[in-house]
């Protein structure tokens, strides 16, 4: 079955027609729908709720692109992809943009033929352990069995970390996140390693979340960003500036609630941003209302953070690195001008 699926991807890659190489924007408009690759099983980032409605930070990023392109956040088809499937799906043109907590790396930008937009979440890899194991530091994990998702930077970081610290370990590699979580909660592994945000999400679905704790070590940098294919600069600009617009809106203090009053603002920067002074959106090949639509229909970065993963959600993540640069974080948008 797996072989069959891979074979289909193989054929799809072979059959990459010239159509996939034409302007993604034109193709998306003709189709009337953006195909967004998402995670499918990480709560708070990309997972359908109990009514089947897609929710999450990555999902909202995809919806923001749709709002910018169509003036409607729901012209999106979400496609759940595993860590292994995601890059071939994008390379073969099966999806238009990948918003699936994917780490920007040199190899992925060069050999894999992909372009990463502005990160929508700065993460780092950590370890989740059962409290009863009595381990207080990742340095005590010599000889441990570690549950890890395949096809991730996590898998390589863990190998690097254990090698650097001269420790032995045994990975248990399961592709399906839910299946991996089950194995970990049942005690198949001593610890689970992944990006800290995902570990928080995994812990929130544990039978008893209080039984697990995150170790203090963060062993890597994981800038998670939306990804597009090489070779279509216009589409890359649209996705990149959609994330910038989310951040810029928060910096300007524009929210989905006050965006209509902000139209009357005297600040020339805000006027340009919201399209009151025309010219910005058209340069992207979109309407000048692009940023207005993003904020009005999806919200600014702060809003979607609070809604999906903020302190009031089960994940209860602090802004930390993901606060605005003006508040000591890394979220920094280039000027819209």
């Amino acid at each position: 079955m797996k072989v069959v699926k891979l074979f289909v991807v193989f054929l799809a890659t072979l059959a990459m027609t010239t159509a996939a190489m034409a302007g993604t924007l034109d193709e998306v408009k003709k189709r009337g729908m953006i195909k967004v690759g998402v995670n499918g099983s990480v709560f708070g980032f990309g997972m359908p709720d109990d009514k089947g409605v897609w929710k999450g930070l990555d999902v909202d990023t995809g919806r923001a692109v749709s709002a910018a392109v169509f003036g409607d956040p729901d012209k999106v088809e979400f496609i759940a992809l595993t860590g292994v499937q995601r890059l071939p799906a994008l390379q073969s043109g099966e999806i238009d943009v990948l918003c699936r907590n994917t780490t920007q790396t040199l190899t992925r930008e060069t050999k894999a033929g992909l372009n990463f937009a502005q990160p929508n979440y700065y993460d780092g890899q950590g370890f989740l352990v059962p409290k009863k194991l009595g381990v207080k530091s990742a340095k005590e994990l010599d000889g441990a069995t570690v549950c890890v998702l395949p096809g991730t930077t996590t898998e390589m970081n863990a190998a690097d970390y254990f090698r650097a610290n001269n420790m032995k370990w045994k990975p248990v590699v399961i592709e399906n996140t839910a299946e991996l979580n089950n194995a970990f909660f049942a005690g198949r592994c001593d610890c689970l390693t992944s990006d800290a945000s995902q570990l928080a999400a995994n812990r929130s679905v544990a039978p008893n979340p209080a039984d697990y704790e995150l170790l203090p070590e963060i062993i890597s940098k994981e800038p998670l960003a939306p990804v597009v294919r090489h070779g279509d600069d216009q589409w890359y600009d649209i996705v990149n500036w959609t994330v910038m617009a989310l951040i810029q809106a928060e910096e300007f203090g524009i929210t989905s609630k006050n965006v209509d009053q902000m139209l009357k603002s005297n600040n020339p920067g805000i006027k340009r941003f919201l399209g009151v002074t025309p010219g910005m959106g058209t340069q992207l090949g979109l309407s000048d209302k692009w940023a207005y639509n993003i904020v009005k229909m999806v919200g600014n970065y702060g809003e979607i953070f609070e809604k999906n993963i903020g302190p009031k959600t089960p994940l209860a993540l602090e802004r930390g690195l993901n606060a605005l640069w003006t508040e000591g974080g890394l979220m920094y948008a280039a000027p819209v001008r």
């Binding site: 079955m1 072989v3 891979l6 890059l87 033929g113 992909l114 248990v172 049942a186 005690g187």
Partner: protein
């Protein structure tokens, strides 16, 4: 006569035409792919095989670490696939033959149990069975610190089954040589006995002699070496058991799922083969006064095997191919390792080509061997 009216020439023309079309299609696909890869700046070629893999593998039949190359990682994956397929095929044949014969038993209970086994196991999708065995393993057994210890040297926990094995000793190499030697001698005896029987009609107890020699020779070597009986018993160290032989839950679940599923099909093939040999054959053999064992070995089995082997071959191939489902429960088989490689290098075309090559090699070698065996046991027409 013009050539289009000549059916022979026409046939040649069609052949050339088809060949050209297939060639053209292949050229189009390959060329298109290369152009597109170039446009997107995706790397191609197999240079990545020599690069450092930088990921760890859970089960390694040969020495491997993250510092080794992708090529070596893939070899580890291929060996894991080979290991599970090889052990799986052997177990599957044993269970399949037992169940198949039990299905024909005159004992009502035995034949019904075999029937239920076959019907249930061959009708539950194998992926589901894998999930079941895997979940059963990690849900129902305790952690390593509370491992079950039913007999000395055997530990069962949710990290797998650890068992004691004889501690490595220089004599082991010679014991294996003795075993091989025993097999060779048995083979020669069989040839000789057959020849003598053809000439003189005198019978020779080949089976028991062979068993005696094959088991006896290694035993003698073991005794000469001073009967080394030291065992390598697994012991709990840190997070897990060290020493002895450790089988992971992934391996056991995969093996169980594949063997139980496929053996049901093998059992049916065995039953079909035995039933296809008409009762008259047995009765005729009895009437000329053959022994019971001779009736089975010389009359029934040779005819049944002819029918059993082709479907058996296809079941062996199925088992090998189904082993790629390993990825669902985290056993690091070839597909799993190749997937990780594809993901890290972004070279899906090369990766999938390697996967196809690997399974094709395994399947074709099984096929070649089974076809040879089939030919050997085929009806020889005189």
């Amino acid at each position: 006569m013009p050539f289009w009216l000549d059916s022979d020439k026409r046939a040649i023309f069609y052949q050339i035409f088809t060949f050209l079309m297939v060639g053209l299609l292949a050229y189009y696909l390959v060329n298109n792919t290369l152009i597109n890869l170039e446009k997107q700046n995706i790397a191609s070629g197999f240079e990545f095989l020599e690069k450092e893999a930088a990921f760890e593998i859970g089960e390694t039949p040969i020495q491997y670490s993250a510092a080794d190359s992708y090529g070596r990682a893939l070899i580890v994956g291929a060996l894991n696939t080979l290991k599970v397929s090889f052990v799986g095929i052997i177990l599957c044949l044993i269970i399949g033959i037992i169940v198949g014969v039990a299905r024909l038993s005159t004992n009502w209970l035995v034949s019904r149990i075999a029937l239920i086994y076959i019907e249930v196991m061959q009708n539950i999708p194998v992926l589901l069975q894998l999930f079941f065995w895997y979940a059963l393993f990690y849900e129902s057994f305790p952690g390593p610190r509370q491992a079950l210890n039913p007999i000395d040297g055997l530990f069962i926990c949710n990290r797998g089954v650890a068992m004691g094995i004889p501690a490595s000793h220089p004599a082991h190499k010679f014991i294996i040589i003795a075993l091989v030697l025993g097999l060779v001698i048995s083979f020669i005896i069989k040839k000789w006995a057959k020849k003598r029987q053809d000439e003189t009609g005198t019978d020779f107890p080949v089976f028991w002699t062979s068993v005696g020699i094959t088991l006896g020779l290694p035993l003698v070597v073991w005794l000469i070496a001073g009967a080394p009986s030291e065992m390598d018993i697994p012991a709990l160290k840190g997070f897990n058991f060290k020493g002895g032989l450790m089988m992971s839950p992934e391996f056991i679940a995969l093996l169980l799922g594949l063997v139980i599923y496929t053996s049901a099909f093998v059992a049916e093939a065995v039953r079909a083969g035995i039933q296809a040999v008409s009762r008259g054959q047995t009765e005729a053999a009895m009437s000329i006064g053959l022994k019971k064992s001779h009736i089975l070995n010389l009359v029934v089995l040779p005819q049944a095997l002819r029918i059993i082997i082709p479907p058996l071959t296809s079941q062996m191939l199925n088992l090998t191919k189904n082993s790629s489902l390993a990825i669902a429960i985290g056993f690091p088989d070839f597909v799993s390792v190749a997937n990780t490689t594809i993901n890290q290098t972004g070279q899906s075309i090369e990766g999938v080509a390697l996967i196809m090559l690997c399974y094709l090699t395994f399947s074709l070698s099984t096929s070649v061997f089974m076809n040879w065996y089939n030919k050997k046991s085929k009806l020889v027409e005189r």
